[in-house]
């Protein structure tokens, strides 16, 4: 079978779902965050595949931006999680109880 | 600047001025407020006198200032026979209310500001000939009322009453707003305007789609109805009036409440005759609820204020009945009762407020024999009660009589029941109230109660009573102005009514 766009998209879709699964199911902030990274990467894969098959570079540029933004976001996010951890000694969603849910 | 603009502008201007008066200048505060309302009232009298009765169907004292051109909103005021009396009544009651506001001792500045804003709003609402401004001014008057009840109100149920009146009246206002919007959108796109005159002319000429009328009319009917405490949406009224400070109760029960009725007559009837025809039977039945149910409830009341509140709701029933009759007599009577009841309700609440001031209670069982102690007050209360029962000589009588004549041709059974209710029930509770408050032995603790002595204090009561009597003896002062306008409305409405209904019309 010839590998086409559809196969790449399927992989990307599954990857997206796995990422979402991590966010929804796991309660550890760090692992949730990894799930979020997976989602971004799923989008990256889809973009690159589309970009290649459409023969158009916009998608790849978008990936470039996404990667950069993700890096910045991770930096801020991890700093935030560490700051919270210092305060509460926990990186668990269930322990975020100061604010009413 | 039209006279009307002055009438509604002075209170608003005074409110603005008061905002900059330091709070310990209490005398100045009161003076400014009184001066402003007095100016309004005086100008209103001038306007009433100068009003050209022969041209009652034309709008007079008109002023138009474009406001939002793209939406067709403009500041447009003017009076014809329909609202000239209402404006006068509003201005008089405002002045009286302002006189009665001396009972407020704390945070006077805010109170007077709110009172003045409310006054301006009320007068604006009745004077506006632009649907948007009509609504706008009404809301402008409503909000201060809520705040005044909440802050300066009395009794244990104050908070509950505040929330209840706020929610009910906002709901009513919003329903009406949607109705008005829908009405606006019924105009063709290029001619859309909120101008009442233009809208009426348009719908008079073009007519409106029947199905549109069928759903816009109930919106307006129930929206305005809630504002007027139409049964069964009336429960807020006694509660709120019971809790409200005197001046607020006077203004709201007396004047602001009439806005809904005015809106029905001014907007709903002329623009949507078909819708009106559809819903009038329903309205006639509902108004029985007002008259009978609320009358009976009033009979059961132990608190004077609640009694007056309920009776005021009951009186609204007559007005609804007049409107429902959809003929010249009925509607003219309805407008007359609106004015008369405005004066009466203001008088009643002013009296009960004064009483509360003196005795700190309004429970009728605890009171008694006050006539000897307070002759002027007693006399005024008796007269108010008589007016409330619809005795001849008071404006109410004239209005109610017209309504019954008008309604008799349309809904005989209803009229009979209503008349019975008005005469019997009204008489029962009014006279009972008079008896238990004024007659009988005077309990020891009320020896301290003082009568209204100074002319200054007597002024509001005298003013309101005088107006009631004036219009009672010379109802033609009003009816001659009202009738031509109503005739036109009824003519248009009748023109489209179904033959089945027209058959019974004698007019």
């Amino acid at each position: 079978m010839n590998i086409g766009l559809e196969q790449y998209l399927t992989v990307s879709g599954l990857l997206f779902c796995f990422g979402l699964l991590g966010v929804v199911v796991r309660r550890n902030l760090l692992i949730m965050y990894m799930g979020l990274e997976l989602m971004l990467n799923a989008a990256n894969l889809a973009l690159v595949a589309f970009s290649r098959f459409n023969d158009n570079l916009d998608g790849q540029l978008m990936v470039f931006f996404i990667i950069t933004v993700a890096a910045a976001e991770v930096a801020v996010g991890l700093a935030l999680i560490v700051a919270l951890y210092r305060k509460r000694q926990s990186a668990h969603v269930e322990d975020l109880t100061t604010l009413k849910l | 600047m039209s006279l009307l603009t002055h009438i509604l502008g002075w209170p608003l201007l005074a409110a603005l001025v008061l905002a900059f008066v330091p709070r310990n200048f209490r005398f100045l505060t009161r003076l400014v407020a009184l001066a402003a309302t007095f100016t309004s009232a005086a100008l209103a009298v001038v306007m009433f006198v100068k009003f050209d009765t022969d041209a009652a169907t034309d709008f007079q004292f008109v002023q138009i200032l474009p406001w939002v051109k793209s939406l067709g909103i403009s500041y447009h005021v003017g009076v014809d026979g329909l609202n000239v009396g209402l404006v006068l009544m509003g201005a008089l009651v405002s002045f009286a209310a302002c006189c009665c506001a001396w009972e407020i001792k704390e945070r006077e500045k805010e109170f007077y500001i709110l009172l003045l804003v409310m006054t301006g709003g009320i007068l604006g609402a009745f004077a506006s000939l632009d649907v948007f401004f009509l609504y706008f001014f009404h809301e402008l008057a409503l909000v201060p009322a809520f705040i005044m009840i909440g802050v300066w109100g009395r009794g244990e149920e104050k908070d509950y009453a505040t929330f209840k009146i706020t929610l009910y009246l906002s709901l009513g206002a919003l329903l009406a707003l949607i109705g008005l919007l829908a009405l606006y959108l019924q105009m063709p796109e290029d001619k859309r305007t909120f101008d009442l005159v233009a809208m009426t002319a348009h719908f008079r000429a073009q007519g409106m789609d029947g199905s549109a009328q069928q759903f816009i009319f109930p919106l307006l009917l129930f929206g305005f109805g809630i504002l007027v405490s139409l049964w069964p949406f009336h429960t807020w009224a006694p509660l709120a009036y019971g809790a409200a400070p005197t001046a607020t109760a006077m203004l709201h029960a007396g004047v602001l409440k009439k806005f809904g009725l005015y809106g029905l007559i001014r907007i709903a009837l002329p623009m949507m005759p078909e819708g009106a025809a559809m819903w009038m039977n329903c309205l006639a039945l509902l108004c029985l609820g007002n008259i009978l149910y609320c009358g009976l409830v009033a009979m059961k009341q132990k608190d004077l204020n609640l009694l007056i509140g309920n009776s005021s709701v009951a009186h609204m029933g007559f007005v609804f009945l007049g409107i429902a009759s959809l003929n010249v007599l009925g509607i003219t009577g309805a407008v007359l009762v609106m004015i008369a009841h405005g004066l009466l309700a203001a008088l009643s609440f002013a009296l009960s407020g004064y009483l509360y001031q003196q005795t700190k209670t309004l429970e009728m069982e605890k009171l008694g024999g006050l006539l000897r102690q307070m002759p002027f007050f007693g006399a005024a209360l008796v007269m108010a009660a008589m007016a409330g029962c619809g005795l001849p000589g008071f404006a109410n009588f004239a209005g109610e009589a017209l309504i019954f004549f008008g309604a008799w041709t349309e809904f005989r059974v209803v009229t009979v029941i209503a008349a019975w209710g008005a005469l019997v029930i009204g008489a029962v509770y009014m006279l009972r109230a008079v008896r238990s408050v004024l007659h009988g032995p005077l309990p020891q603790e009320w020896h301290v109660a003082k009568d209204v002595t100074t002319p200054w204090r007597r002024l509001p009561f005298a003013l309101l009573l005088g107006a009631l009597l004036l219009f009672g003896f010379f109802p033609a002062l009003l009816t001659r102005k009202i009738e031509p306008v109503v005739k036109q409305i009824v003519k248009d409405a009748r023109a489209v009514l179904k033959p089945a209904i027209t058959a019974g019309v004698k007019n």
Binding site: L36, A43, A46, E73, K87, L99 | F146, I178, A182
Partner: protein
């Protein structure tokens, strides 16, 4: 490449960097003054925006078509500038509650402002993405700025996780849209939809649009992406909450407008019912959940959800008047919400608490603050004569107008009914606040609250704004109408 197009944004970014630099040479006690300096500079920028001729007809675009300077963009740029100026003043009042890094606090606001201004001009998905991310990432930091408070950090983390989740949806949605249409640019997508009917009906394309909408819904706090709002509003420092409520929401809104009505207008009209449903649920959710709230900021958080619902109501009207109403509503909302937060910020300065009861006796402690908050509440409740009323009036009008389409008549009327119910419910809790101000028995401190000159000015501006927009809506309405006609017709 026309650099003069982005001169305002460049100025703002440079200003932010300038604040960061000046911080090095400013003694600690004078650092709060930097905020005022920045606010003044922004004022100059604001004035400058009025000296630029508004592009008529074909708007000026640049940078490969990704940046668009039209009336809509200009409107929102001014909007954001005003918001930022007021927020900066608010932050100066807030300065003593931030242990360190006050200059960074200002700088971050400026950067967020730059992000919003870019968002206002975004014309392709790449710009949309980077602008949104610039705003969001800045707000992660701003939200958790009070590191001493656990609530602030928790709010930051919640915003972070949910924000990143929405970013995930956003990029995946963008990927799908890009993949099916082959372009990132809004107008080109619209052109392709017009050219080929299949595109707009492709399931993949629709899924992409849906995902993007979900992500934008997060920014404006619409159901079902609203869960972050109450917590974050409560936990974040008051000025940040204000900026979040006004700036971030408006940025989401302008992007939503651009995506929905520039890129996929046909799809928008197909999904009117969906939009209506979301709007209705959002209104109800926000209003109902606000009732039991005792924390002021949380209360405003829920109220902002309800406002998002009203904005969506305007979008779902799918008419020019609806969009114009949204712009107008936002204009009023700007002054209203900022006034409310300004007062809350100052009142809660000395108390750790943000419970509604701290307002007790406010009318004695500071009549101006009491008046400001009261007016804000009245305006939020949509009562004349304040700005909020006219905004809601226009929104409801637009919805009723759209009901003339017989296909959707009942849907629109249901939505309007829901809107009315929302307004009624909201009256209840807004009056709860007013009740606390005026007739709750004060228990604690009754000393007058000092008010600095800038704060006083800011409050006057807000009140004036509310009153002006409520009493004299003509100029702004004409402006928004013109803008909307030029952009979306």
């Amino acid at each position: 490449m026309n650099v003069s197009l982005i001169e305002f944004e460049i100025t703002v970014v440079l200003l932010g960097m300038g604040v960061l630099l000046l911080d090095l040479w400013t003694p600690a006690e004078r650092k709060p003054g930097l905020g005022l300096a920045a606010a003044l500079s922004l004022l100059l920028v604001l004035v400058a925006t009025f000296l630029v001729p508004i592009p008529q007809g074909a708007a000026a675009s640049g940078f490969g078509g990704g940046y668009l300077l039209d009336g809509l963009a200009l409107f929102f740029k001014r909007f954001f500038l005003v918001a930022a100026i007021l927020v900066l003043v608010m932050q100066t009042e807030f300065a003593d509650r931030i242990a360190s890094g006050i200059s960074e606090f200002y700088a971050l606001v400026l950067f967020a402002l730059a992000g919003m201004m870019f968002a206002a001009s975004a014309n392709n998905f790449v710009m949309l993405f980077v602008a949104i991310e610039l705003i969001t990432v800045t707000f992660y930091v701003l939200t958790s700025f009070q590191r001493g408070r656990t609530a602030s950090l928790e709010a930051g983390v919640k915003y972070l996780i949910l924000g990143a989740l929405s970013s995930g949806f956003l990029v995946f949605g963008i990927a799908l849209i890009y993949g099916t249409s082959g372009t990132m640019s809004f107008p080109e997508i619209a052109a392709k939809i017009k050219a080929s009917h299949d595109l707009a009906h492709g399931a993949l394309f629709q899924l992409g649009v849906l995902l993007v909408l979900v992500a934008l819904g997060f920014k404006i706090a619409a159901v079902p992406m609203q869960i972050w709002a109450p917590d974050v509003y409560q936990g974040a420092p008051a000025p940040v909450t204000a900026f979040l409520a006004v700036g971030s929401k408006a940025a989401g809104m302008v992007l939503l407008l651009r995506v929905l009505l520039t890129a996929v207008p046909d799809l928008a009209s197909h999904s009117a019912k969906l939009l209506m449903t979301v709007a209705g649920i959002t209104i109800l959710y926000g209003s109902l959940c606000a009732i039991p709230q005792r924390n002021l900021k949380r209360l405003l958080g829920y109220s902002s959800i309800a406002s998002a619902g009203f904005l969506l109501l305007g979008i779902s009207a799918l008419s020019l008047n609806g969009i114009s109403a949204i712009l107008y509503y936002l204009g009023g909302y700007l002054f209203t919400v900022l006034a409310a937060f300004l007062v809350i910020c100052i009142v809660t300065r000395n108390t750790k608490d943000e419970d509604i009861s701290v307002l007790a006796g406010l009318h004695q402690r500071s009549p101006l603050l009491a008046a400001g908050l009261t007016l804000a509440m009245v305006s939020l409740a949509g009562v004349p004569p304040l700005a909020g009323f006219f905004g809601k009036f226009l929104l409801l009008k637009a919805a009723v107008e759209s009901a003339s389409n017989p296909e959707f008549r009942s849907a629109y009327y249901t939505l309007v009914a829901v809107g009315i119910v929302g307004v009624i419910i909201s009256l209840y809790y807004y009056f709860g606040v007013m009740k606390a101000i005026f007739w709750t028995k004060p228990t604690g401190d009754l000393s007058p609250i000092p008010l600095s000159l800038p704060a006083r000015l800011a409050l006057y501006v807000c009140i004036a704004g509310m009153l002006f927009l409520g009493l004299y809506p003509g100029p702004l309405l004409d402006f928004t109408d013109g803008v909307v006609k030029a952009v979306f017709n």
